[in-house]
Each structure stands twice: as C-alpha cells, then as structure tokens.
Symmetry: none
Subunit: 158 residues, 2 copies
DNA sequence: TTTTACAATGTATATTTTTTCAATATTTTA
DNA sequence: TAAAATATTGAAAAAATATACATTGTAAAA
C-alpha cells in the first residue's frame, strides 16, 4: 500500500516510453520490475490516472497518457526496421495530397525513407517536424500509395 | 454498407454531445436512431476513429474523440498548460508540513498555482527549484489538503 | 491506546470489448 | 461486363477489462 504513489509514477514512465497494447502487457512489465499487483489493481490505476486505450492507427491498440499528443519520442531510430507504430500518428488523403502525421522529430527521417523508394507515383515530399506532405502525380489512387508505403507503415488499416 | 460514412459521422456527433460510458450504450442510441449494426461493428468503428475510453474522474468511464484533451478537462483551474503528469514526482506529509517534489524548474510555477487557490488551510508555500514546502494551519488534515490540491495533482485522486 | 472510518487490494466473477471466421457487398481490374 | 480483389459486417468465441465482495492495512478520532 505504501508504494502506490511510486507505482503510479512507474506506470506513467512506462506508458510514455513504451507502446502498451493491453493491461496484461503492462502488468508483466510491472511484475518484472518488482511491483506486486494484479490486473484488477492495474485497471483501477489506469482509470484513476485517466489513461486511455485507443486505436493506434496501425491495426492495434495503444494506451496513452492524458494530453499525450506531444509525447516525447524515446525511440531515436526511425528506420524501416522500427515498427511503424513508434512514430506513426495518422495518414490522410485529399485530392492529390497525402498528409502523414508523425511524432515530433520523425517527419524528416520518414520522408527520406519515402523518397528513397523513388516511386513514380510520388512527385515529391515536404517534411516539417511532425508532418509530411506527400504530393502525388495525377491519377494516382489512395490504395496505390498505400501499397508503396506498406513496408514503411506496415499495416495502415486492417 | 452505403451508410458507413453517415454512421461514422453520427457516432462523432453522439460522442461529442452525450456522455457515453460503454459501447452498448452507444449501440442502443444508434439503433434507436435507425442505424442497423452490431456491437462488433461499433468496436471496429471506434478503433478506426481512434475514439478512446477513459476514466471520467467521477468513478465512471467516458468515450472521447481524438481531439478532446483529457488533461484539460481535469485541470480546469490549473493555469499552467503543462499537464500535471509532466512535473509531478512525489508528495509527502509530516506534521504541519507537506513536501511536494517536482521535476527541476517546476516548483515555482506549481507553488503559484497552489497560492492562487487562496485556501484558508494553507498558511503559505515556499518553493525552490524542484521542491515545494506547503505550510498548513494547525489542525488541517492530510485529506483536507489533498482535496484542495486535487485539480493540480490529479494523480492523488484518492 | 482503542475504536472507527476509510483506503487499497486480491480473488472470483461479471461485463465489456475485440477478434475470428464466414458470408456478402463493393470496388477495381482486365 | 465478368472476374478478382477488397471491404464490410454479424454471430459467436476469445480476450481484455471492470467490479462486487471480502479482507487487510492505514489513518483519524476519541
């Protein structure tokens, strides 16, 4: 009972640095770290802390802290070997444009990955800190681009 | 199948205007409105829409749209734009003193927030760089102070 | 101190949510 | 248009999450 505050703190740390897909996964980590608790307690903690479970945009789920739109990016690598879910926020299409949102700092690197594919269908990319604009050639369809991006964003939707 | 887009739109409307505590409740509303679907489809919709289920701070749960910021709702009177979870380290009580540890640099600002409450129970605060000393009036109990700090430090919720 | 109230937690269970699988429907391609 | 590829969905099963209840620990009051 004494270590509740400490546990709460630890949960925050884990959630902000690791992608958590279920309470079971988080529970395992906490148990490994030496905390002694059950899933029931974890459920109560998450409820009180207002930590939310939300679709991750890549076919899975992710737990997020309140206000974690500006989550810090602990994963320095952005190469294709890193699961997309570590940097990916959203993808949107409008006319000949595709806008990909990433966690802060990732856009430039991911844009390079996209450029490296040298796809005919892509006229070019422009990247800021957390947003990539992909400009498509006329007549290129959404699905076509998704296929090109598939190994950068393994599962866009499922 | 044609009405999927319409249904998605309706879900957004409902979520933003009504407190939804479970998919079952949302499903009932949609059925009453004439939409024909099952809970399984709803689960998929919510996942794709990245709608989250989160503790409502009053003992229940609530579904929220991606844009809605949970921390803001919680910290209504907190002038700082920084969510509590980003600065809070620990809180301790001893006699008429309460010591709050923060991440470096935050103590002063948080102390201002505490002062702004102008609570009778608090005689004053002294802040360093990462520590706040809250001096309580005689007879003020721990629980009482926690109630006062509740919307500055949401974590100590209970 | 002793009593009392309340908070924290685990266990077991209930509830809710997610997914698998199969059937259709829709869209794209040829 | 017909065939092929994709997407959407429901029903049922599986998985995940939440809670009722009982117990124990902690703090406040007397």
């Amino acid at each position: 009972m004494k270590n509740k505050i400490e546990r709460i703190q630890k949960i925050k740390e884990i959630i902000s640095s690791t992608k958590i897909e279920s309470q079971g996964q988080l529970l395992d980590i906490l148990l490994e770290e030496g905390y002694d608790l059950t899933q029931a307690t974890l459920s109560r903690d998450l409820k009180r802390m207002r930590i939310a479970k939300v679709g991750d945009g890549c076919g899975g789920y992710s737990y997020i802290l309140p206000g974690q739109n500006v989550a810090k990016t602990l994963n320095t690598s952005h190469s294709s070997s890193v699961p997309a879910s570590n940097w990916f926020i959203s993808i949107d299409f409008s006319g000949q444009f595709c806008v990909i949102k990433t966690r802060p700092g990732y856009a430039g690197g991911i844009a390079l990955d996209i450029d490296a594919k040298e796809a005919d269908q892509i006229m070019g990319t422009i990247a800021g800190d957390d947003t990539i604009l992909v400009i498509l050639r006329g007549g290129v369809r959404k699905k076509e681009l998704i296929n090109i991006l598939r190994d950068i964003i393994p599962i866009i939707d499922k």
